[in-house]
């Protein structure tokens, strides 16, 4: 598993285009996190892909009009951070749900 960082301009549909490039190849999306980073946004994805899939998906991402940069980092560390983010998010969401009730 590796972690992929796609930096993009947060224009209509760009995030979905980034995700679709993965999903149309029926590659699992176990973790996705998108956030603002300065003037741009970054989406972090943890993905299990072989070398050919990696090349193709990265090329598809780069071909998206509002994608600025694609980088890959070692999965383990980032996946850990990622799961922190994911847990926080779930907690926040359930807290809100509780508040409403």
């Amino acid at each position: 598993m590796k972690t992929y960082h796609v930096r993009y301009r947060n224009t209509q549909g760009t995030l979905i285009r980034i995700l679709t490039a993965v999903q149309r190849r029926t590659i699992d999306l176990p973790f996705v996190h998108a956030e603002q980073d300065g003037e741009q946004h970054v989406v972090t994805l943890a993905l299990e892909m072989n070398a050919k899939q990696t090349e193709q998906v990265c090329r598809d991402w780069r071909a998206i009009v509002d994608v600025e940069e694609v980088s890959i980092s070692d999965g383990i560390v980032n996946a850990c951070n990622a799961s922190d983010v994911a847990t926080n998010f779930v907690r926040r969401a359930s807290a809100q749900a509780g508040a409403k009730a």
């Binding site: 301009r9 224009t11 209509q12 549909g13 979905i16 285009r17 679709t20 149309r24 050919k52 090349e55 193709q56 090329r59 598809d60 780069r62 071909a63 009009v65 600025e68």
Partner: protein, 563 residues
């Protein structure tokens, strides 16, 4: 103060738009209302799919951006096939769709669909306009992306109330991209490596795709090929890019390519690919495509490189720049002689057997083709007739062969011939359809009649969904499940109902070694008439297209008629 619709039309004018193809409806009434003073010609199709295919036909023969209008909901969803078609065939297209008014978006209002969502995976770029002030910037950016790099479809969705809103307008704007387009063609080391690969190649082959035309690189490409003198073949979209008369030209490659082209591509040790996506209709079984070859891939779209087979060298950039740069690098190189390889691949024993050309439909098409004036345009639908039309195409008009290659969408022929004829009113436009595909957009006969477009319509009538029937015959034990069209309407009478002159000829008209004077006159008059006209050719119901590379086979494993 101008309204949103006036601003849209001014911006289209500024982008050089002269003609749009479309179909009105509630959400776009204000846009249509403003058309009369806009200086833009609107062509009313009889179905939105007709409009978008016509816009593509217009674009394919001119290289300009095709523009289609449709209303919200069903109008927009009827555009989808055309948008997909434009994506796969790299056609610059801008679709402007009406949307329900801003305050209703997301409420499942009457005729509301999420056009942006539906088209995301098909478009290169899309926007839902949220206020009238952003119209100039959105249109400028949309046209920029439709044309730039690998051209493709763009959708601009505009809520009905925005068309009606008045706004200050200081004129159309220009779009400058934030990201510089990627191109590594300046890397001179790249071409030195390429020259090195050529020097070590014993059996080089060049494969030309539609990208060579889209980039306007035909002249430099032809000059490069004249220098290289290597066996050359073309994909269906590459037809017309290379002069057919050249000794080194082997014809079309792929599922119904020529034997010479397919065998050379299979045997090559260095394949130079210029602007082709290498889809499986071209490669046969991808894992067995050009098995001994190193591939050098010239393309503007980084997403195409390595998609099918890893390439040894990728030359990323506009072919209009990379081909001359490559040619320049060859000037100081002393290339090997490949004449022996060329005579091997062009040898008669590698040609398609004569029997492959004995199909009467082939003869019928040859007779029509040889009477076509220069710079005519041939438009096809999809199926057997498309393959015969491609196999027999001999013109060197780079934008003269218009077909739905990537999507293979039946119903493309008739409406795209409308667009082609509007773009080129003085050219002969010959539209070849099957009896199945003709009925998919038959309503566009009304468009042809109203505008008196002198399109020459041909139906190759085998009373079957011929291409599917061929597969059923060869691979499904002749189980012709749901491909029988023997109860077709009388197309001659249908055309006459649209007030389009029509006639039918049978196999007997072209039997024998040469056609009769009467038939020859019929063909000549048909092609020269200043009116639209339909000619139905009753072909043999079980005629097949050969050679054929079966699904899953390599290019060297072709079926021919005698097998």
């Amino acid at each position: 103060m101008p309204k949103g619709s006036d601003i849209v039309l001014s911006c289209l004018r500024a982008e050089g738009v002269e003609v749009v193809f479309g179909y009105p409806g509630g959400a776009v009434i204000p846009l249509y209302d403003a058309l009369k003073d806009s200086g833009i010609r609107h062509v009313l199709s009889r179905h939105e799919q007709g409009a978008v295919f016509a816009a593509e036909g217009y674009s394919r023969v001119t290289g300009k951006v095709g523009v289609a209008f449709a209303t919200s909901g069903p109008g927009a969803t009827n555009l989808i096939t055309g948008i997909a078609n434009a994506k796969l065939d790299s056609v610059p297209l801008v679709c402007i769709t009406g949307q329900v008014r801003n305050t209703l978006i997301g409420s499942d209002a009457f005729q509301e669909v999420d056009v942006l969502g539906i088209t995301l995976s098909l478009t290169k770029w899309s926007r839902l306009v949220r206020n009238v002030e952003e119209i100039p910037a959105v249109i400028a950016e949309g046209f920029y992306w439709a044309r730039s790099g690998r051209p493709g479809p763009v959708v601009i969705d505009i809520p009905g109330d925005i068309f009606r809103t008045q706004s200050e307008f200081s004129g159309p704007v220009k779009f400058t991209p934030k990201r510089a387009s990627s191109c590594c063609a300046k890397d001179s080391g790249l071409f030195l490596r390429l020259v090195d690969l050529l020097n070590n190649a014993n059996k080089p082959v060049a494969l030309i795709g539609g990208g060579a035309k889209a980039s306007g690189a035909i002249a430099p490409l032809r000059s490069l090929l004249d220098t290289l003198q290597v066996p050359t073949c073309a994909t269906i979209h590459g037809l017309g890019a290379v002069d057919f008369a050249k000794d080194y030209y082997l014809g079309m490659v792929g599922m119904h390519g020529t034997r010479q082209a397919n065998l050379a591509t299979h045997d090559t040790d260095l394949l130079l690919v210029f602007g082709a996506r290498l889809d499986d209709r071209v490669t046969g079984e991808p894992s067995r495509f050009a098995p001994d070859a190193k591939i050098v891939h010239f393309d503007i779209d980084p997403a195409q490189l390595d998609r099918v087979r890893g390439c040894e060298l990728a030359v990323l950039g506009d072919l209009a720049n990379t081909i001359p740069a490559f040619h320049l690098a060859l000037e100081s190189a002393k290339l090997p002689e490949w004449s022996e390889w060329l005579s091997l691949v062009t040898h008669a024993d590698r040609a398609t057997p004569d029997s492959g050309n004995s199909e009467p439909t082939v003869k019928f098409l040859d007779e029509l083709y040889k009477r076509l004036p220069e710079n005519s345009i041939v438009v096809t639908d999809v199926g057997q007739q498309q393959m015969w039309a491609a196999q027999r195409y001999r013109s060197a008009n780079p934008r003269g062969f218009v077909t739905s290659g990537g999507l293979g969408s039946m119903g493309f022929g008739l409406p795209s011939a409308v667009g082609a004829q509007i773009a080129k009113p003085d050219s002969t436009v010959l539209c070849i359809s099957g009896d199945g595909g003709f009925q998919m957009n038959i309503q566009e006969l009304a468009t042809i009649r109203r505008l008196n477009l002198p399109v020459k319509l041909v139906i190759i009538d085998n009373k079957y969904l011929g291409m599917v029937r061929q597969w059923q015959q060869l691979f499904y034990n002749r189980n012709y499940a749901e491909t029988d069209l023997s109860d077709n309407p009388d197309f001659v009478e249908v055309a006459k109902a649209y007030r389009i002159p029509a006639q039918r000829i049978g196999l007997d008209a072209i039997a024998g070694s040469s056609i009769s004077r009467e038939t020859a006159d019929l063909f000549t008059n048909f092609l020269q008439s200043s009116e639209p006209e339909l000619l139905v050719f009753d072909c043999h119901p079980e005629a097949n297209v050969f050679p054929m590379v079966p699904a899953g086979a390599s290019l060297s494993e072709m079926l021919t008629e005698d097998q």
